[in-house]
Each structure stands twice: as C-alpha cells, then as structure tokens.
C-alpha cells in the first residue's frame, strides 16, 4: 500500500512540477493544484497508512495503537482550505495580469 501511495504522490508531484515550468498561467495554476494534492498526501502519510483505524474516540482516552494519527490530519485539513484560498488569489492575480498585459504568459510578456 505504501508503495502505491508513494508512486501516486510521485506522479501527482511530477505532473504538477512539469506544469509549473510551463509558460501559461493556467498551466501553472493547474500544476499548483496537483502539487498541493501531492504535498497534502505526503504530509498525511507521515502519520502512516492505517485503513480501518478508528478516527473518533470511543472511550475517554485513546492511544495510537487503536486510533488514526490525528495530528497530520489536522495539519492537512487547514492546508486544504488555505490551498483553496491561495488558488483563488492566484487565479485573480493571473486574470488581472492577463487584463493588464494582454497576455497569459507568466512573465507578462511573450518571450
């Protein structure tokens, strides 16, 4: 399972990086989204992969033996929301830049 997820992270990240290096702003925004999937999964996987571990406490206290690791989840949860916000910001910046420069090249001018 770890291998599968690792390869998936690699493919997501690689596709994202390829798009980051493209000249069109739309490519970059898609690339950033792909990268954020990869990074979120990467951080999430630092709590190790456990299918079937309970995420919700059923007794007063719990230990990692019985429950999923909550910490990476908490980190990734806010990262997802903030990721949405930055995507929106980048989208608006790229639209404004397209309006002002007349091109959707990342440098604001065709090379």
């Amino acid at each position: 399972m770890e291998l599968l997820l690792a390869i998936s992270i690699g493919i997501l990240g690689g596709s994202g990086v390829w798009l980051l290096l493209r000249p069109r702003t739309y490519q970059v925004i898609i690339g950033l989204s792909l990268c954020s999937y990869a990074v979120n999964l990467f951080i999430f996987s630092m709590g190790r992969l456990r299918s079937g571990a309970a995420p919700i406490l059923s007794s007063r206290t719990g230990s990692l033996a019985d429950y999923a690791d909550p910490l990476p989840q908490a980190l990734v949860l806010t990262a997802i929301v903030i990721g949405f916000a930055t995507t929106a910001l980048f989208l608006v910046v790229l639209l404004a830049s397209r309006g002002l420069t007349g091109t959707d090249h990342v440098d604001g001018q065709e090379q």
Binding site: W18, Y37, V81, L95, L100
Partner: protein, 971 residues
C-alpha cells in the same frame, strides 16, 4: 510630580507630539507650530524643573526592566551635564520651531516637517538622558534616521537626496561601530549601565580590549560630529531646510559626538591612544575646517565648515585629558550652539528674503535689513572670538590649555601655533560672512527685493544673540553655576577650580587672541577681491573632494556593482527561477540521502489492495492527462484535475481520515467552480493541427522540463516511501489522543486539535483566509479584462441571437431551458444543504465535521443558487453580505479567545460541557464551539465573497484595460 516620571514624560512627549503632528492638514503651519512649540516648551520647563535635584551633583534615574537576561533595562538618567544639554536641545528646539513657522513656505507639506523635527528632538533627548549604553546607541541611530529624513525633506531635489543618503551612510556606519564599541565596553565592565560604566574607568583603560573599544567608539563619535576624515557629509547636509541645519547641524545632532566623548571622558580619556587619535582628528578638523570655510560661497556652506572647525576645537580640548580642557570643551559646546544656531537663522532669513545664499551675489544688505544685520554681526563676532561675547571666553580657555604641555610630543608642541592659525582663519571667515553680505556694493540682480523679515522670525535669532552677549559680559553671574554643575557631573572628584571672567589680565592667551584677530583681519583684506570671483573651495585643495572620494569608495561598490551583479546573475523571468528553485530543492534533498542511507527495503507488492490500485490508476492518469491538456484544453484539464482530487479524497477516506475526505470533497467542488468562473477571461487558444513538429528549441525545453519533473517526482516518491516505511517512534500525537476528550471535551480529535489545542494556529489561518478573500475582492473591483474578453462569449451571443429572433422568447431563455430541471433541484436543495452544513458543524466536536467543512458546504449552497437562477435573480431575493460574515466571524473567534482572559486563563483556553437541547439531544457546548462558529462563518464569508466577486465580473459593464497589444502566443 516625582522626578523619575518626569524623565519618562520628557522622552515620550516629543514622540507623541510627532505622531499627532503627522495627522494635521498639509498647510496647517500655525497649528503645527503651536503643537511643536508647545511640546518643546513643556520639555524645556520639565527640564528646568528638575534642576534643584541635580544642582549639587544629584542624579535623577528611572529604570524599566527590558531584557534583564542581557542586562538591558530602559534606564533614563539625568545629571548636570545631561541637564545642560537637555536645556540646549529643548530651548533651541523651541526657537527653531518658532523660526520654522515663518521659514517654511505655505506650499511645503509641514506636517511631515514638524513631525520629523519633534521625533528628532525626542531621539536627541534620548541620547542625552539614556542611562544605559545600548539605549543610548538606539537613540543615536534614531537621530541618524530622522536626520536623513529631514535633510531629504525636499526630496524632489537631487542634492537633498544625495546629501541625505551620504549623511545616513556615514553616521549610520559610525553608529554601527559605536554599537560594537559599546558591546565591547559592556563585555569589559559586565554591565551596560552608565553609572556602573562610569565607575569602572580603571578597569576599562587597563583591559586588553581597550584599544578596539576606543577605536570603535571614536568612529561613532567622529562620524557623528563630522570630524576629519569623516567631515564631508556635513557640508552636503546643507541641502536641508535651514531650520533643520540650525537645529541638527549646529546645535544638537553633531554635538552628540562630542557629547558622547565628554560622557565617556572620565573612563576613556588620559591614555596616549586617546590623545593621539582624538588630538589628530580634532586638530585637522579645527585647522582645515576653518581654512575651507574661508573659500565657501554658500553662506550655509561657510557655516558648515565653521561647525566642523569648532567641533574640532572641542574634540581637541577633550583629547588633552586635562580637567581644565574638559571644562573648556563643555563650555564651548554651549557657546557654539547659541551663536551657530543664530547664524544659521540669519543665513536662512537672508535666503528667504533675497532668494540666494551665494555671497558673491549678495552685498550691501545692511541698508535693507539693519536689525538682522546687527544680530548676525554680533553672532559672527562671537564666532570669531571677539571680547565681551561668549565665544571669546571659551576660546581664551582653549588658548590657555593649548600652551600647557600635556604629553611630550610634536602634536602637543604645535598646538599653540595651530590654535592661533585656526583662530585667525575663524576671524577671516567671520569677517567675510558679514562684510560680503551686509556691506559693499548694492546688489543689482537679486531674485527678490530684500526687506526685514517678520518680527517673530527674527525673534529666535535675537534671543540667542542676547544670550551670547549676556554670557559674554557676565559669565560668572549667568551660566557660571550651571556650567559648574555640568562639569562636576562629568569630572566628579577631579573638578578643577576655574574662573569665568572677561578679564584675566595681560597674559599669553590674550596676546594670542589679539594676534589672531589682527592676522585674520589682514588675511581677509588680502583675499577680499579674490573671493569675489573665485570658484568654490580653497586653491590647490579644491580638487580634494571628500564627496567624490565617498562616491567612488562607497557608492560605486555598494550600488553600481550590485546593479551589475543583479543584471548578470538574476532574471525577472519566472520559469528559470522556478527551475533553479526545483533543482536546488532536489539537490538539498539528495545531499542528506547520499550521506546516510534511506534504509529502503525492497518494496512489498503483495499487500496492495486492487480497488485502491484502480483508484490511483485513474488518479495518476488524470494527473498526467491534466498536465498534458492544460495548454489547449483547459476545461478537460480542469475535469481531469477533479479526477485526481477525487482519488486523493478517496485515499483520505481509505486510510481512516473521514474529516479530510469530507473537506477535500467540498473544497474540490468550490475550486472547480472557481476555476470555471475564471476560464471566461483567458485567451482563446486553438491547437493548430497543421503546425507540424515544434521547433527544436521548444522540444529541447520541453524535454528538459520533463526530465526535471520526472526527477522531482521520482525523488518525491522515494522520499515518501522511505518515510512511510520508517517505524513511528512515540510521536506527539499520543498527547492529543489522551487528552482530547478529557481536557478538550470532544471525541473528534482532529477537530479538537483545530479549535482547542492549536486554536491559535487556526486563528492565524482564518485571518489569512479573510485577508486573501478581501484581497481577491479588492483586486476584482478594479478588474479590467483584456480587450478580446470584453464582449460576450461566442455561445452567449449565438443563444441570445436565437432568442431575439423568436417572437415569444427573450434573451437568456435558452440557457434557462438547458438548466430547467437541474435549476429546480438546485433551488430545492438550498434548505437541505443548509441543514447539512449545520449538522456537520454541530457534530464536529464529536464526529467528522466541524467549522471548516460546514463553512464550505454552506458556501456551496449559496453558489448553487447563483448557478440555478443567475446572479441578478439571486441578488434580488437574497442578500448575503459576505464581508460582514467575515468581519463578525473573525470578531467572534477573537472575542471567544479573549473571554478566557476574564477567567484568568491564557488566550483561547476552552471550557467544555454538554448541553441538553430539545429534539436535538446532547450537544457538546465547549466554548470552542463559539470559536468553531467563528471559523464556520469566516469560511462561508470568504468562500462566497471570492466566488461571487468573480461571478459578478460577467454582468458588470466592463471597460477593457489599455493593454500593450497582445502579441500572438507561441509554444
């Protein structure tokens, strides 16, 4: 009023005044002057009020602990010497404010001027009454900064900018050296406290670090006091408005250097190093300053060089290490401040009334402004050292010291001759200042017809001249006791007997004075005609230009070389930067891996679940497809991106993270809508089938980028795999699992971490979210699309044309027909989604859900209504006001956090219990719920605001941006 409060007020008041002054209207000269003058006057009275306490060697102190671990306390300390200086700074400050009221023209933005002037006064008072050396250096740097801003007040003028920059560089670097020197002293003594340092003179002088500390402190003092070889910034600082020159560059700031030397005199003076370093700098400044002053044509330039020379005199007196020398130095600091400030004011008046400061153009002004002329003459006479004026008294003391022998050396032997020569030069330039401006031929081509200035503009100068006269005639009766107090606070036990009298009988100093007066007058007669037409600067030495040396030595390396380096080494293009960044990241990750092994095991293929493998087969395909299609087929790329997102979402659910899966799902929805809304504003790009193969350069670029992407992806996969295979050893997560219910009152540990344990982080994150949403909103308010996007999209035009052609249809019907059934469902879903969002929110503490996911869910409910009915229709019925949601929610989150202060707990401490609600049942009612409510509302507001702002662009009447013509895009 207790005396230590007094010091605090003294230091705080000018800065408060400065802030208030900055808020006035640009042309409020009168109210600014009242405010600034009032502040200066209050500070003056407070200082005067403290005199009885410090009169017999007492010290007023106040201490506020700052960082006690480093021996730093915000200590303020007022003794006799500091008192004298504080009186000078506040008194002359008051007069300068009064003068500036009339000097500044109605078109100058005065709030900035008075605000900076007050802030400068506060900083200067800070240097004077600092009781801790670090505090002293802090205020020292502040004076450099405010001086920079004041010199550059007329920033439209290149000379002002250059002068300001030079002053800042020189004094700022000096301040840096001083800081290093002070830290060395602190290391030697073990404390930065001024009282302790002053008591450890012996230890400092005998320490091996004495010489480095001395050199560094002297660097600070000599740069500030514009002493040779750092004098060149002062003449260039004359681009400042004249009140600034009068206040900063004669009376106060440049005196900070000699103030510090006198302050540290008891602990550092008396060694040969002190004598040689200071003596040489002082003597060179005294002699060359006076000599250069003769050949200046700008009145302020002459006064600037004269200031260098007089400060050189003070430096030289301090270098001697004899108590009587120190007395003369302190006395001359006082005298120089009075006559030089008044002379600068006179120069300013003449500039103001005639429009020029060039002494070659001026002449015969006595007839037009007799009062100003008389005042300037008396002040000049004081500067030249004419008897019955204060300058004469300290100059006599200087001569008396110069003929004494202190350290057997050439430097000491030559002192009397240098002193007489420099005094003769002083007489020459003083004579020139008066004669060329007020006497001689009547000016013909003056920019303005000269006349007397308003009375209140003359008044400050008059007051200062009166002081020169009174002190000069009856020194012992006027300044005598104050001078004694000041001297005693510096010298302590070593205070010598000295007499302040005009007449000491026929002695050598008197003869030297007479020689200097006669020689100076003769020299002026000889040079008079030459000076009428000569270029600026003394013959032969004219080309030794400190400014040019400075520019070559400092500006070229720091500015020009940096610019060239930037041109060669950097790029403004994004792609190369990203490429470098990625490769650097890869190298940074590779280095530790190559050093130690990752402990990679041979992968185990057996435990892979077929379903998840299928999920990721799809997910990876989607990712690669999105990467491939993002250029020409944006919609396809977006859908494929959603596919990859969905795989991610399933993975979260698979590996026991229902919260993440939920959040990912709803965020996926809004992200897709967001980008869909953006697509309309992007340029049309059609893949040309007949283009043939791409040019080799493009293919090379793509293969290179593909290689980078492959390497980074492979590295990421390896790293992820290696990390996942490492055994987990006692992570901090156990802490949260153990306490989430017991202390946080919630069973959903992830949610409890977000709203309770790490509530402060979440607070920060929702603040970021709010800031981003507002930024998006602000950016879109001024949105101008590219010209080709202004018109309606092709499909819309076609649909509307069809609708208009049919008699029973109106524009928009076709699109309405398409969505007829979905629209009804979407409208019906509105209450359902609201209930779902509330449900997700309320159960969040104990079950998957919470503020974030509930907020995004509710936002989709609103967005669906927009999709179903169109922007105009929705807004007719529903007012959402997302900005209010954001503001109120942030307030709610913050007040929830602050409420715990009321109970004596730190910010965001939560309290929990269950509340029985009718129908719904037991609801966890931790105070964290209110915080989560804030998160919820903010996420709703931010998401809706961003999406709606973008959606609105389609119905706005848009104006196209005036763009540079879009060139045809290529690969």
């Amino acid at each position: 009023m207790s005396k230590d409060v007094l010091l605090t007020i003294l230091i705080v008041l000018p800065f408060v005044g400065s802030v208030i002054a900055a808020t006035f209207r640009p042309n409020a000269r009168n109210s600014e002057a009242w405010l600034a003058g009032g502040v200066a006057l209050i500070c003056l009275s407070l200082t005067a009020f403290a005199y009885p306490t410090i009169a017999d060697g007492g010290v007023v102190r106040t201490d506020v602990e700052w960082i006690p671990e480093f021996g730093l306390s915000f200590a303020l300390r007022l003794d006799g010497f500091a008192w004298m200086f504080a009186m000078l700074v506040t008194g002359i400050g008051f007069l300068v404010v009064l003068y500036a009221r009339y000097y500044m023209s109605p078109s100058d933005p005065v709030p900035r001027f008075f605000s900076l002037l007050l802030a400068f006064m506060g900083s200067m008072l800070g240097i004077i009454i600092a009781g801790n050396l670090i505090i002293l250096v802090f205020f020292w740097e502040l004076t450099s900064i405010f001086s920079f801003l004041l010199i550059g007040y007329w920033h439209g003028n290149a000379g002002a900018r250059d002068g300001a920059r030079m002053a800042l560089l020189v004094t700022g670097l000096g301040g840096f050296a001083l800081l290093a020197g002070v830290i060395l002293i602190g290391q030697i003594v073990g404390s930065y406290d001024l009282d302790i340092v002053l008591a450890s003179g012996e230890a400092i002088r005998e320490h091996s670090l004495y010489l480095p500390a001395l050199v560094l402190v002297l660097l600070g003092a000599l740069t500030k006091s514009a002493q040779f070889p750092f004098h060149f910034w002062l003449p260039n600082a004359m681009a400042a408005p004249t009140p600034v020159s009068a206040f900063l560059h004669s009376a106060t700031m440049v005196k900070a250097g000699v103030f510090l030397l006198a302050r540290l005199w008891p602990v550092m003076a008396g060694t040969p190093e002190w004598f040689w370093l200071l003596g040489l700098a002082g003597m060179a400044s005294l002699l060359f300053g006076a000599f250069f002053a003769i050949f200046q044509h700008d009145m302020k330039g002459l006064l600037a060089y004269s200031t260098i020379s007089h400060l050189g005199l003070i430096t030289m007196l301090l270098s001697l290490g004899s108590p009587l020398g120190a007395v003369a130095a302190i006395f001359h600091m006082m005298n120089h401040a009075t006559f030089k400030a008044s002379l600068f004011m006179a120069a300013g008046i003449i500039d103001h009334e005639t429009g020029t400061r060039d002494m070659r153009k001026l002449g015969g002004l006595f007839r037009y402004m007799p009062v100003t002329a008389t005042l300037a003459m008396v002040a000049s006479a004081a500067m030249a050292g004419v008897p019955l004026l204060n300058g004469f008294l300290s100059k006599e003391m200087f001569f008396a010291e110069a003929i004494e022998t202190h350290v057997h050396s050439v430097l000491d032997t030559s002192q009397p001759y240098v002193a007489v020569l420099a005094s003769a030069f002083a007489v020459t330039y003083s004579l020139r200042f008066i004669h060329s401006v007020f006497f001689g031929r009547k000016p013909t081509d003056l920019p303005r017809e000269p006349h007397e200035p308003p009375f209140w503009m003359r008044m400050p100068s008059m007051f200062l001249v009166l002081a020169c006269l009174v002190v000069g005639v009856a020194p012992a009766a006027t300044v005598g006791p104050y001078l004694y107090t000041a001297v005693e606070s510096v010298l302590g036990q070593r205070t010598p007997k000295f007499s302040l009298a005009v007449w000491h009988g026929f002695n050598l100093p008197l003869i030297m004075s007479a020689v200097a007066l006669v020689a100076g007058a003769l020299l002026y007669l000889a040079l008079k005609d030459y000076l009428r037409h000569s270029p600026v600067g003394p013959p032969l030495l004219r080309h030794v230009n400190g400014r040019r040396l400075f520019e070559r030595g400092v500006l070229v390396p720091s500015l020009k070389w940096a610019q060239s380096a930037q041109r060669v080494l950097s790029t403004r293009r994004l792609q190369p930067q990203l490429r470098i960044l990625l490769l650097a990241a890869f190298a940074a990750a590779l280095a530790p891996i190559s050093l130690g092994s990752l402990g990679l095991q041979w992968p185990d293929w057996s435990n892979i679940d077929a379903v998840l493998a299928l999920v990721w087969l799809t997910g990876a395909g989607c990712a690669i497809g999105a990467a491939y299609q993002a250029k020409y087929h944006r919609l396809v790329a977006l859908i494929l991106l959603g596919g990859a997102g969905l795989s991610t979402c399933i993975t979260f659910a698979w590996f026991s993270a229902p919260d993440l899966a939920l959040t990912q799902l709803v965020v996926e929805v809004v992200t897709t809508i967001l980008i869909l809304l953006g697509l309309r504003w992007l340029p049309k790009r059609v893949e040309d089938m007949n283009l043939g193969p791409a040019p080799p350069s493009a293919r090379l670029r793509r293969s290179r980028d593909a290689a980078i992407a492959f390497v980074v992806g492979a590295g990421l996969a390896t790293l992820a795999y290696a990390a996942m295979m490492l055994p987990l050893s006692d992570p901090i997560s156990s802490y949260f699992l153990e306490r989430s219910y017991v202390e946080g009152g919630g069973r959903n540990v992830v949610n409890v971490i977000l709203v309770d344990f790490r509530g402060f982080d979440t607070m920060g994150e929702i603040t970021v979210l709010a800031a981003v949403a507002l930024t998006v909103y602000a950016l879109l308010r001024r949105f101008r699309p590219a010209p080709d996007n202004v018109g309606s999209p092709e499909q819309q035009i076609r649909q509307n044309a069809f609708d208009e052609a049919e008699p029973d249809r109106k524009p928009g019907d076709t699109i309405g027909d398409y969505l007829l059934v979905p629209a009804v469902i979407m409208q019906w879903l509105f209450p359902v989604i609201i209930v779902l969002a509330l449900y997700l929110f309320l159960r969040g503490h104990d079950l998957p859900g919470g503020g974030f996911v509930a907020g995004v869910a509710l936002a989709t409910a609103f967005i669906l209504q927009y999709l179903a009915s169109g922007t105009t229709l929705v807004e007719d019925r529903l007012r959402i006001l997302p900005v209010n949601w954001i503001g109120l929610s942030l307030l709610l989150a913050a007040t929830t956090g602050m409420a715990s202060w009321l109970f004596g707990y730190p910010f965001l401490t939560s309290h929990s219990q269950y509340v029985e609600l009718p129908v719904i049942g037991a609801v966890p009612a931790a105070t964290a719920l209110f915080f989560d409510l804030g998160v919820f509302g903010l996420v709703v507001g931010a998401t809706v605001l961003m999406l709606i702002a973008l959606a609105h662009q389609s119905i706005r009447k848009l104006r196209a941006a005036r763009t540079t013509t879009a060139r045809t895009p290529e690969a």
